[in-house]
């Protein structure tokens, strides 16, 4: 249709699409799914780190971790707001998360089992997230692009903090170094999974790329992540758990093993180590919070009525 052509034309010219602009239903739907999943990931992502807040080993580390988790909730807020500009409310999205219709990043279905995980999550998980998100600052949808710009700034700060924890651990006692290695062993492959399956197996990629909702291929980003991360691991004196890892002079990057994609799909199906617990906790928080939301709404309504009466 002419509308579609004009729309694609704007995108090709790098003009942002804004909420009131016409857009194809598929574009809207894909964006809602993508932004919603991203928002949910920020929310669920509070849990694995929240797991260590009460055990943070120093006041400084506790403060840093609290600030980080607070930032993540803030990111959730921006992203839900961006999704709302597409005509879906935060409550609708939340319900879809809670009843399993919508997903969140699979990485958060892995447990955090020692303090070095707080480092590894920042270093690897936020690192992979940034790798995914930096290109999205240039995404075609205005509110999403602006949210990503804000988020990326904070995320790279988190990544540095995570690497700093890893450094302390890797340079610490034998037990601390073992924790750091254990964290890397458990989180390496799940981090590689964060870029999604190989593009060859990815369904919506082509359309999303032409809409500039997706900016790079999964495999390109994964390669970039490996190339960036391996030297960092070496600097820490830690061993990436991949026997096939090897610098490939010809391609100017590392050869590396693929993660276990069967495990990836199993986790997506709900069989990750923490899927059930994560959703149980979110549902519990939501259900037990109902009286609070109702109470505050009732109060706001009373206030509004009083104000109207006074006018």
């Amino acid at each position: 249709s002419p509308e579609e052509a004009a729309f694609q034309d704007r995108i090709d010219q790098d003009i942002k699409i804004e909420p009131k602009d016409w857009m194809p239903a598929g574009y809207r739907k894909t964006l809602i799914r993508q932004i919603g999943q991203h928002a949910h990931s920020e929310i669920v992502g509070q849990l694995p780190e929240g797991n260590w807040i009460t055990r943070a080993p120093t006041l400084e580390r506790k403060a840093i971790l609290l600030a980080k988790v607070q930032d993540e909730a803030g990111h959730g807020l921006y992203l839900y707001a961006a999704a709302e500009t597409l005509g879906v409310s935060r409550d609708e999205l939340t319900e879809q998360l809670l009843d399993g219709r919508m997903k969140y990043s699979s990485i958060f279905n892995y447990p955090t089992l020692n303090w070095a995980d707080m480092g590894a999550v920042g270093w690897l998980v936020d690192g992979a997230a940034i790798m995914n998100q930096v290109p999205l600052q240039r995404t075609s949808y205005g509110p999403y692009s602006r949210a990503m710009i804000r988020i990326c700034k904070e995320e790279s700060f988190h990544q540095r903090q995570g690497y700093d924890i890893m450094m302390k651990m890797a340079q610490g006692t034998a037990a601390q170094k073992a924790m750091a290695q254990d964290a890397l062993n458990r989180l390496w492959y799940p981090s590689l999974m964060m870029f999604g399956p190989s593009d060859a197996d990815s369904v919506h990629s082509a359309q999303s790329m032409s809409w500039k909702i997706k900016m790079d291929s999964n495999d390109e980003l994964r390669q970039k992540f490996v190339d960036q991360t391996v030297p960092q691991a070496e600097y820490l004196g830690l061993t990436v758990p991949d026997e096939n890892l090897k610098w490939n002079e010809e391609k100017g990057g590392y050869d590396f093993s693929q993660p276990d994609w069967e495990e990836f799909f199993d986790v997506l199906r709900g069989n990750g180590p923490c899927n059930v617990d994560r959703m149980e906790k979110r549902n519990k928080a939501w259900d037990e919070g109902a009286w609070v939301r109702d109470g505050l709404m009732a109060h706001a309504a009373k206030r509004a009525a009083l104000k109207t009466a006074a006018e």
Binding site: E60, A67, G289, D294, A298
Partner: protein, 250 residues
């Protein structure tokens, strides 16, 4: 130990333990905005803890750090008000605890801005800004939920009745407090009560909640003589890594 040490410890232990309790909510609040606000409150309280316990450690003068005080003392050495260590309960109880503490905290810090001890007034100057915001927020939430639905009203009234017996301790001076007053470090605790009562009465009226009649007050936290059973459980989590891996650097 000096009066200043004892005083700083009492302030720092209260902010530490309350900050810890609030941080337990992380990721479990009823609304996203509340998750953010609770994390923010916890963060401020932990930041204040670094200052107060840093001062106590400095005053102790044996080379200990604020972290040593936070992570390497057992329950009986803690000097926090009992109110701070009570379990979170539901969101209403958490916010009511926060308000009852914040309101005291604000008056205390305002008075401490005039402390004869500069290190104390400096901390108070910084903290009072944060705590003004805390009390504004916890007050609004107590009012919103007290004057919300019948269920939220009932829960808030229950919370108030559960928590109010722990308020008295905040205004009951012992020898340490009297020394602090005499040395000009801190105000007379009892002198803060009238303003507190007025502010709380006002808040509860707006919240349509009824203050309990009884002035009975539990005590034993600020003196360390008798904490609740809850404190020991907080410490098992809070101090775990420092206890399990002594001497490590994090």
């Amino acid at each position: 130990m000096s009066t200043l040490y004892d005083f700083a410890l009492r302030m720092g232990d209260s902010t530490l333990i309350l900050g810890h309790r609030v941080s337990e909510w992380c990721g479990h609040a009823p609304v996203l905005e509340e998750d953010i606000a609770l994390a923010n409150t916890a963060l401020d309280l932990i930041g204040q803890t670094q200052l107060w316990l840093g001062l106590a450690a400095e005053e102790e003068g044996t080379g200990k750090t604020a972290d040593d005080l936070a992570f390497l003392r057992d329950a009986w050495d803690f000097r926090n008000a009992l109110l701070c260590e009570l379990p979170n309960g539901d969101f209403g109880r958490t916010l009511m605890r926060q308000y009852l503490f914040d309101q005291w905290h604000l008056l205390m810090l305002q008075a401490l801005q005039g402390s004869s001890e500069k290190r104390v007034s400096d901390i108070a100057d910084k903290a009072v800004k944060e705590v003004s915001y805390h009390v504004e927020r916890s007050r609004d939430t107590v009012i919103g939920l007290g004057d919300g639905t019948p269920e939220s009203h009932k829960r808030m009234q229950d919370a108030l009745e559960y928590l109010y017996p722990y308020v008295g301790e905040l205004f009951t001076p012992d020898a340490v407090d009297e020394a602090a007053t005499q040395e000009g470090i801190a105000p007379d605790l009892a002198s803060l009560r009238a303003s507190y009562d007025a502010a709380v009465a006002d808040t509860m009226a707006e919240a349509t909640l009824t203050l309990p009649d009884s002035r009975f007050g539990h005590k034993g936290g600020r003196t360390g003589k008798m904490h609740t059973e809850h404190l020991g459980h907080i410490l098992t989590q809070m101090q775990w890594l420092q206890r399990a891996y002594p001497g490590a650097s994090w």
